[in-house]
Symmetry: C2
Subunit: 406 residues, 2 copies
């Protein structure tokens, strides 16, 4: 086994040299070119890079046709730009002056770099306008107005508020209203049918807002960008945005799904099952869970319990505990499936508590020093634990490394 | 304001050059020399380094008289050794052969390096013995037998099991039984009085076990090491270990508290209040909450709600959400206290939802771009989010940086 043929030190990384490796067939769980294929459902993808913060994965996503990379803040944008990403959608309002300046500096110094940002208030517009004027940027900064959900995160709560911000942008020197944005992923009441309706309504509102702003002639960019879409409802978003017709300029509908890339064995697996059910077909096809965390059985202190060398510092725990999948005694042979009923019941900082089903033969088999492979729930909060992830093939041979920069 | 006078690149760090700065008075929240002062309560401290994984803080702890540094695994031990730590207690059984070898290599290559490890099974003892024999270590590896709690983490469940492992260690070439270890911090039933009794009983069991092994003449080291003690019950542990008399060799009682260093505004603040109550005096004196996370108000989308640029990726959320404390409009002047009733009600990956009390003037004051300072609950899962923490004085002037290596 080649332990780490393609681990790359920070600074020696180029996107182009890596794409080829990421695109080779047979690599476990990088279904990059399968989902959301360009044009297949009429939208484009600017995958949310905050999920992985991995330049190699950004490179593979772009090489597979992603329109750009979505990021959450100025720092992430600096990292992506440093590694060659040239089109970024920052899906947040930038408000710290140092953050605004950091992004403007990238735009000022690199004519090939494009960046779209958000605003949801007149205060936010004023702040952007001041900094753009101070920086003397020769290009107008494209800005999307964020439409939000009552009681939820950022974003204008009403169409009237959103139009007020849009008008301010249209009137602000150095800024250009480029479109509208929203995030439907916060809709999660627990009632799936109600959530599906709420998502559809929200996307309809986004579309209606876009038409209204277009009627007022507010858009100042060659095309109108409308963006929504996480990894749970992208079908509904694509369908909703697909109904947006009659604009005076070309529409650029952009999904921002991030977790689609690796999916998971938890929340997103469940959300994809719901997606398949409501679409009446395997619409989430290709979105296989790709992240596994392997740890060692550190102790078998009592029957039915194994303590693993994996803790909150290694695996997400904010959307459910890891799912034990496989075990392996170091040596030849392939990992074996753990029986149903094996459950991680608790994690400390550095340990996981694996309960084994009572009376199952696994209790006599699983030994100190064995390896256990777990799936996770919520990729974002696992990726950020690993500066280096190893990509393996179906035989668990390490094929290359994936760096993250959190 | 001097932004970062003492930020040190990885590799340019030496413990001795940093101690002086960390020991200067007036630095906010590094009460290193106050608690658990050498000898004052008859025990010594090997603070759990997994909390901070910061060489500068290890250096300050050692300079203030810590006996050594406790760590959770081989990798953390490699980091600590790299930065000059010369006495480590690994408070876990090492079972992966690569981990055992990594630690043995450090011992083999550095005669000044001391390391004590744990075992809780005959399988664990056999594995250590095999690797020690293969490595040809000229010193015996000191090992503590771990006593555990039924249904909890690692460790022998009964005294008989523990003595069996102890006898195996005493008989294993290359290994030396050095003492016993346990971790009482897992006792947290919610009934404080019952927990206090359970902790005392557990420490009594540890002491009885030590006496029994000594009666059998099993200890092979010049002194007998007995260790327990997290940051919640260290008074009870110290008191319990203080009753251990009549051994044939000198006793080395070691606490392993890690979170005491910064404490917090959550679980440990509550545990220290309980400690003060049961001791009838301010026994946790000096353990002031020292960790704050500052973020920016990104949006004020509706009355009573502020969205902050701080999320699960910035602050612990496994033992309660952050506690909003202070706010500040960038510019001159000191941060002001937030009124009671301000609460972080939710966090996403990159955002926090700050609810403001209804009708409070703060709702009209707190603006987009303002800074908000929050305390946290559970230092371990906050430290590991920050490769660099800034240490500030009471005027919030940055005095130096503290690196972490997770």
């Amino acid at each position: 086994m080649n332990p780490l043929p393609h681990a790359l030190p920070h600074g020696a990384l180029s996107l182009s040299s890596l794409d080829e490796r990421l695109l080779q067939p047979g690599l476990k769980g990088l279904p990059i070119d399968a989902p959301l294929r360009q044009g297949a459902i009429g939208v484009q993808l600017a995958p949310h890079g905050k999920t992985t913060m991995s330049p190699q994965l950004f490179g593979a996503q772009l090489a597979n046709g992603a329109w750009g990379v979505t990021l959450a803040n100025a720092r992430q944008t600096q990292v992506a730009h440093r590694f060659g990403v040239r089109r970024v959608l920052i899906a947040n309002q930038l408000v710290a002056r140092s953050d605004v300046r950091a992004v403007l500096r990238l735009l000022h110094g690199d004519p090939d770099f494009e960046c779209v940002v958000l605003a949801d208030s007149l205060a936010g517009v004023a702040r952007l306008a001041e900094e753009v004027a101070a920086q003397g940027l020769t290009r107008a900064l494209p800005v999307l107005v964020e439409l939000g959900l009552s009681g939820q995160r950022a974003g204008c709560r009403t169409e009237e508020e959103a139009l007020t911000v849009a008008r301010a942008l249209a009137g602000a020197p150095g800024l250009a209203l480029a479109g509208f944005e929203g995030y439907e992923g916060l809709i999660a009441s627990g009632d799936h049918a109600a959530d599906v309706q709420a998502v559809a309504r929200f996307i309809d509102r986004l579309c209606a807002l876009t038409l209204e702003a277009d009627d007022e002639g507010l858009f100042e960019t060659p095309e109108i960008l409308v963006s929504a879409g996480g990894s749970s409802y992208f079908d509904l978003v694509a369908r909703g945005l697909g109904k947006l017709h009659g604009l005076s300029k070309p529409l650029r509908p952009i999904l921002r799904s991030g977790c689609y890339l690796t999916s998971d064995h938890g929340i997103y697996q469940r959300d994809l099952a719901k997606l398949d059910a409501r679409e009446g077909r395997p619409a989430g096809q290709g979105l296989q869970p790709a992240l596994e965390i392997w740890s060692v059985v550190q102790s078998r202190p009592e029957p039915g319990l194994a303590i693993l060398t994996m803790g909150k510092r290694d695996a997400s725990h904010d959307a459910g505990l890891p799912a034990p999948l496989l075990f392996h005694t170091p040596g030849p042979g392939a990992p074996k499936s753990l029986p149903a009923g094996c459950t991680i019941v608790k994690m400390n900082d550095q340990h996981a508590y694996l309960r084994l089903p009572e009376g199952d033969p696994i209790d006599a088999v699983l030994a100190v020093g064995d390896l256990v492979g777990c799936g996770i729930s919520h990729p974002c909060t696992t990726f950020d634990r690993w500066p280096l992830l190893l990509a393996v093939d179906d035989d668990y041979v390490v094929r290359f490394g994936v760096n993250t920069f959190f």
